[in-house]
């Protein structure tokens, strides 16, 4: 038996059952992506993108792997939350909606993991 009043339960959770956490996560990740994406676009503009050696050197140089890993993770996080909202608004029917939400989470998790794996491999190759 819960000691929380029905009103407190309602005020604390909201229609999605998770209160304002999703809203905050979306804004916080957006804020983090402002410097990260700007840094990435400027870096891309300065890189000779056809040059494999130059690109992989840049990917493993100094703090770049760290920023790139952060970029991939926060991008996937922000993207997952955004696509989730679109699914919740436009996909109808409980079964289909849950399937789409699961697929969305799985796809973004896969993208984040694959991106981190690639970055790790590039960064560690310099050491071996």
């Amino acid at each position: 038996m819960s000691l929380r009043s029905p009103l407190a339960v309602v005020l604390g959770r909201g229609a999605a059952g998770e209160g304002a956490a999703h809203w905050w996560a979306q804004r916080a990740s957006a804020l983090a992506l402002v410097p990260l994406t700007l840094w990435f676009v400027v870096a891309l503009a300065r890189l000779p993108l056809d040059d494999y050696v130059a690109v992989t050197l840049w990917m493993s140089n100094g703090a770049n792997p760290l920023w790139l890993a952060l970029l991939v993770v926060v991008l996937c996080f922000h993207s997952r939350l955004g696509v989730q909202v679109v699914i919740e608004d436009y996909v109808h029917g409980a079964g289909l909606k849950i399937m789409a939400l699961l697929l969305n989470s799985a796809a973004h998790l896969l993208l984040a993991t694959a991106g981190l794996y690639a970055l790790l491999r590039v960064a560690l190759r310099g050491l071996s």
Binding site: R27, T37, V41, L49, L68, S79, G82, V83, Y117, R121
Partner: protein, 112 residues
């Protein structure tokens, strides 16, 4: 509003762009020939068009996202303000896209 649905549409489209970003990273991890293949593919007609579209979407989504963050912080919510900032975002996104496209795609021949 048109700009609000455009924010969602560009966001969804950029989610697809994530796949291209991860593909680019994976190709770099796989080695020189795989990277060359990816660079060749991304330079090709279809992907080149997609890269332009992703860049344009990013410019708009980024700037309109700043507008949304300002709204969430309580700024610029009056109707006249919102209209003006909306027009400003569209103009700035167009300018940013043209500059970024020029810098990213034109000075180096063959860059993806």
């Amino acid at each position: 509003m048109v700009l609000s649905i455009l924010h969602r549409m560009t966001g969804l489209f950029l989610a697809l762009g994530l796949c291209a970003l991860v593909y680019w990273l994976l190709s770099a991890a796989a080695g020189e020939s795989a990277y060359g293949q990816a660079a060749w593919l991304l330079r090709g007609g279809l992907f080149r068009a997609l890269l332009y579209a992703w860049l344009a979407s990013f410019c708009y989504h980024f700037l309109n996202g700043l507008r949304h963050l300002a709204w969430d912080a309580g700024f610029g919510l009056e109707r006249a303000h919102a209209r003006r900032s909306g027009r400003l975002v569209v103009v700035l996104a167009l300018v940013a896209f043209l500059i970024a496209a020029w810098v990213l795609f034109f000075p180096r021949a063959g860059a993806p």
